[in-house]
């Protein structure tokens, strides 16, 4: 009965799907059952964990293209995505299909965003940590300290057979995620962020995808060189340290480790005629699955309003701290953001 107990959370239709493919999924069912029995049970066995590794590798090392549909608070937007990997080089092309045209080209840490209608281009040198998750060694261990990974059977996404997993948090400081991974390649086909009461806060899913396409780096590189007629804005975050900037968290927030700290301008350089570009200190904390940004900047009373907001899974808390203004943002419950804000302290 254990497998059934696990499946019940998925809803009936999924259970039916799962049962029809049950024979193919026997090992996974056993896994799910085992994980669900005692709360302390060492979560997920190596089998489930190896899936996480597969998902991780597939996303960066496979060549694929498809249409990704993101649903946040009932707002749907889709993008055409192509990803190529050649050795240690990554190429990505993203074209927004709804609303105002926007295209993003990425070659390793260089990211070019084009707004063809406005003839504006922005070139960003991304923080390397944001692009090479491999440097985050140990983050997988960190993840399993905070989440249980449960196998939930099979499903179909974008015409492909998918294996479903639930990453269930072990505490109240983070959200659960349900993942659909391609059975063959491991590519993540769909990811849902779930509220504690099981509501879907955000969904990102391929509506169609081709895995194993021919690598076409030129289709990314060529447009990155053609910027004639575009107004080009450049920005590059500057690495620094929270303590070096005179700040610290006086008590750590459970499970979150600082992974980066940068000084950046929130408005791209050269846009000064509209709004003065604000330099902010952004510190990023990760629990292996999700991350929280803490932004610190000088308080400007005429512009800053204390408050909180939520959009999909992304929550935001804004409040003054002495002569400073603090914005904490992350795909975590508001209470977690409050912990960050409360722990932040000026050293000098």
């Amino acid at each position: 009965m254990q497998p059934i107990a696990v499946m019940s959370s998925l809803g009936r239709y999924l259970m039916a799907v799962a049962l029809t493919v049950a024979s193919a999924l026997c090992p996974l069912f056993a896994q799910a059952g085992a994980a669900a029995v005692p709360a302390s049970a060492a979560a997920s066995g190596t089998d489930v964990r190896s899936w996480l590794q597969r998902i991780h590798n597939a996303a960066s090392q496979r060549n694929y293209q498809g249409t990704l549909v993101v649903t946040v608070d009932g707002s749907v937007s889709s993008s055409r995505l192509a990803h190529y990997c050649e050795g240690k080089q990554y190429f990505e092309r993203i074209e927004r299909l709804d609303g105002r045209p926007q295209r993003v080209y990425r070659h390793n840490e260089q990211v070019l965003t084009l707004w063809p209608a406005a003839k504006v281009a922005r070139i960003e040198q991304r923080d390397a940590v944001a692009l090479f998750p491999a440097v985050l060694s140990g983050s997988e261990e960190q993840l399993f300290e905070r989440y249980n990974m449960l196998a939930e059977g099979g499903d179909r996404v974008a015409g492909l057979e998918a294996v479903v997993f639930l990453l269930r948090p072990r505490d109240v400081h983070r959200f659960a995620q349900r993942l659909w991974a391609d059975r063959d390649s491991g590519l993540l086909l769909r990811a849902d962020v779930l509220s504690p009461d099981g509501r879907v806060l955000e969904t990102a899913a391929f509506s169609e995808v081709t895995i194993g396409v021919k690598s076409q780096p030129e289709s990314v590189l060529a447009p990155m060189k053609k910027l004639d007629g575009y107004r080009v804005l450049r920005s590059a975050p500057q690495r620094t340290g929270l303590e070096a900037e005179g700040w610290r968290l006086n008590s750590p927030v459970a499970g979150f480790k600082q992974i980066s700290c940068v000084k950046r301008s929130l408005e791209a350089a050269g846009d000064g005629e509209r709004a003065p570009s604000t330099e902010v200190l952004q510190t990023i904390f990760s629990d292996g699955l999700t991350h929280v940004s803490v932004f610190i900047e000088p308080l400007r009373a005429e512009r800053h309003r204390a408050g909180a907001a939520a959009f999909g899974a992304t929550h935001t808390l804004m409040q003054p701290l002495g002569p400073h203004w603090v914005t904490v943002m992350g795909d975590v419950p508001m209470a977690t953001l409050k912990q960050f804000a409360a722990a932040l302290e000026r050293l000098r």
């Binding site: 996303a59 694929y64 993101v70």
Partner: protein
């Protein structure tokens, strides 16, 4: 009207407060809006200024708003008033009196309706300006404005009960989402989520 006139200043302050979601002097602001074409122009100008300050791009020409408002007012004026409540006193009164009584009812209701609709419209144009993706959020914001003091969607409400302006937040969101791929999962299109959720629309 003299711009230094204290009444005028007070009206402007009330208008500005109303824009920020503070309803303390909403009556004053609404009355001013109804009576004074200058105040209506200020209301529009404030939103335009706000939009310029908060967003990186103003997508639609201000004349468009003005034309829309003009048409809206004409249509409202031409609208037959079928739902106007006729008070028992009025209906038992002579015909002439009834008609004046109806007029006094109609004007404020029509103006109030126009006001609410205008507030909604302005929020839509303002929030939707930075890029197409925020349209749904703007719909939410419009909902707030239309619903006025009534049910404001909890998700969009600030701790102080004031709605947060999204164009401002989008800058932070864009910076935040750049780190989406730090997740062990490195969701394909982590950047897409970034692009979708927080594209700063320059």
């Amino acid at each position: 009207m003299n711009r230094d006139d204290p009444t005028h200043q007070r009206r402007q302050q009330a208008l500005s407060a109303l824009m920020d979601g503070e309803g303390a002097e909403a009556d004053l602001a609404c009355r001013a809006w109804r009576e004074d074409a200058g105040v209506r122009a200020d209301w529009h100008a404030y939103h335009l200024i706000g939009e310029l300050m908060r967003s990186d791009d103003v997508r639609c020409a201000p004349q468009h708003d003005a034309r829309f408002l003009g048409r809206l007012r004409e249509r409202l004026a031409a609208e037959p008033v079928v739902l106007t409540p006729v008070s028992p006193i009025a209906s038992s009164a002579p015909l002439a009196r009834q008609s004046t009584s109806r007029r006094t009812w109609v004007a404020p209701i029509a103006v109030a309706a126009g006001f609410v609709a205008v507030a909604g419209v302005l929020v839509v144009t303002r929030v939707a300006a930075p890029d197409g993706t925020t349209t749904d959020r703007s719909a939410l914001a419009a909902g707030q404005a239309t619903a006025s003091s009534a049910a404001v969607p909890a998700a969009m409400q600030s701790a102080e009960g004031r709605p947060i302006r999204n164009a401002e937040l989008d800058r932070y969101l864009a910076a935040h989402k750049q780190y989406s791929s730090t997740s062990v999962l490195a969701v394909p299109g982590g950047m897409v989520r970034n692009a979708v959720a927080a594209a700063p629309g320059r």
